[in-house]
């Protein structure tokens, strides 16, 4: 039970997505999930052990690490991946609800329960808005927690029990920064894809609505 579960869940979502939605799922898998599991996890694996302070005072390193990394980058990244994937489940639930209704009434109520029209369109649009909103929330959280997306080589710490101001050195700062920028870039790409899918759907269904009204008027 791990990322495989998320992968299976999102493969199910893929069936009811538009073309842009499928590209979003592919980017999420290849450039975010796979990079996280295959590369990023091992960079942050020993972050606590390799965080060194220029002092022998017991407890000083612990306290300084906790002060500069309240929630580790890698945990925020994992939370972001999980929470950003979840709104897609609204669509799966809605389609399941439609299929259930058809079974309950024992007749075909919808031309195709998986087609994005009517109520399902609104669910899909809401899921897109939620996904975009959550991506932005996490990017802002990263920015606010770590004062930008830079990871310094050296931090100065003077919290008790450190006796004075102490130099502490972060492990692999450049590598972490590169992957952090990669995370930001892929998040922004996903935001752009979500916004374009939103505009495409709104545009498509507005045109459909307009044409229907135009045909009715002509009749």
């Amino acid at each position: 039970m791990s990322w495989v579960f998320l992968r299976d869940l999102l493969s199910g979502v893929n069936k009811y997505s538009t073309g842009i939605g499928r590209i979003w799922v592919a980017i999420l898998f290849m450039f975010r999930l796979l990079v996280y599991v295959a590369a990023a996890e091992s960079i942050w694996k020993h972050e606590h052990d390799e965080f060194e302070c220029n002092i022998k005072q017991p407890g000083c390193e612990n306290v300084c690490f906790d002060h500069f990394f309240p929630v580790s980058h890698i945990r925020l990244w994992a939370l972001q991946l999980i929470i950003v994937s979840t709104p897609s489940l609204l669509v799966v639930f809605h389609v399941a609800y439609r299929e259930n209704r058809e079974k309950h009434h024992n007749q075909k109520l919808y031309k195709n329960p998986g087609k994005i029209d009517g109520g399902l369109l609104y669910t899909y649009l809401i899921s897109l808005i939620l996904k975009t909103g959550l991506e932005i929330v996490f990017l802002v959280l990263f920015y606010k927690l770590y004062n930008g997306f830079k990871i310094p080589r050296l931090v100065k710490c003077d919290i008790k029990p450190c006796p004075n101001t102490v130099d502490c050195y972060i492990s692999k700062p450049t590598e972490k920064m590169i992957f952090l920028y990669f995370l930001v870039a892929t998040s922004c790409l996903c935001i752009v894809l979500n916004l374009s899918e939103l505009s495409y759907l709104i545009f498509k269904y507005s045109i459909k609505c307009y044409l229907k009204r135009h045909m009715k008027k002509q009749q």
């Binding site: 407890g59 906790d66 945990r75 994992a78 489940l89 639930f93």
Partner: protein
């Protein structure tokens, strides 16, 4: 044998659940089990190694760690998830027993369509309603019990940065520093919030089932 086994078992129960039950199951898998395996286990991974005490006395660190963390949060959460998922097995067993009875009647010569039996959606009424409702009740009780155990064992839901320890063989009162206290507090509050949401979902499902049966009874009498 791991969390995947639980997923296989509960996936079977999902078919016979109400909609709220299905949402509860999704929340359980994604926001509790997945977060536990993927994130929380890493945060608590080095908890004893990086528990540092301001003393060179051998054994003092071990004793202090054991005193302040009798059962690790991670282990308590794993137990909580297992206990909370288990009542659903009552429903699975009841459904299996009903199916077994129908098959037995079919073998004894009664005319039952075997295909219909396989694909039949078993409705939550009669004895199954009682089994289902008791399973939800037990889920709520287990959630509440574990939330209280966490609160009682760790004096609240916050992880302190510094604990003062004077258990033997520590010579005097010794300062001990917990690793990653802020991150641990964040995850504790997150798991607490999701437990709360699950409890709300279970309560809503219980109310829905009780209301449904009351309305049915009132329709029968009128």
């Amino acid at each position: 044998m791991d969390w995947g086994t639980l997923q296989a078992v509960l996936g079977g129960v999902n078919k016979h659940s109400t909609s709220i039950g299905k949402i509860w199951l999704t929340v359980l898998f994604i926001f509790r089990i997945m977060i536990l395996v993927v994130a929380a286990e890493r945060v608590w991974g080095d908890e004893q190694q990086d528990f540092v005490c301001n003393t060179l006395q051998p054994g003092c660190r071990n004793v202090c760690y054991d005193h302040f963390f009798p059962i690790s949060h991670i282990r308590l959460w794993a137990l909580q998830l297992i206990f909370v998922s288990t009542p659903a097995l009552l429903v699975a067993m009841h459904v299996a027993y009903t199916r077994h009875e129908k098959k037995r009647r079919f073998r004894n010569g009664e005319k039952i369509d075997i295909e219909e039996l396989k694909n039949e959606k078993i409705h939550i009424r009669g004895p199954l309603w009682w089994t289902y409702t008791s399973s939800i009740f037990f889920r709520i009780v287990f959630e509440a019990v574990f939330m209280y155990v966490f609160y009682y064992m760790y004096d609240g839901y916050q992880m302190p940065r510094l604990v003062k320890c004077e258990a033997w063989p520590c010579p005097n009162t010794v300062d001990c520093f917990v690793s990653r206290p802020t991150e641990k507090t964040t995850f504790t509050i997150f798991m607490l919030a999701v437990s709360g949401i699950c409890m709300m979902l279970n309560l809503a499902e219980l109310c829905y089932l009780v209301l449904k049966i009351c309305m049915k009874e009132s329709r029968k009498t009128t």
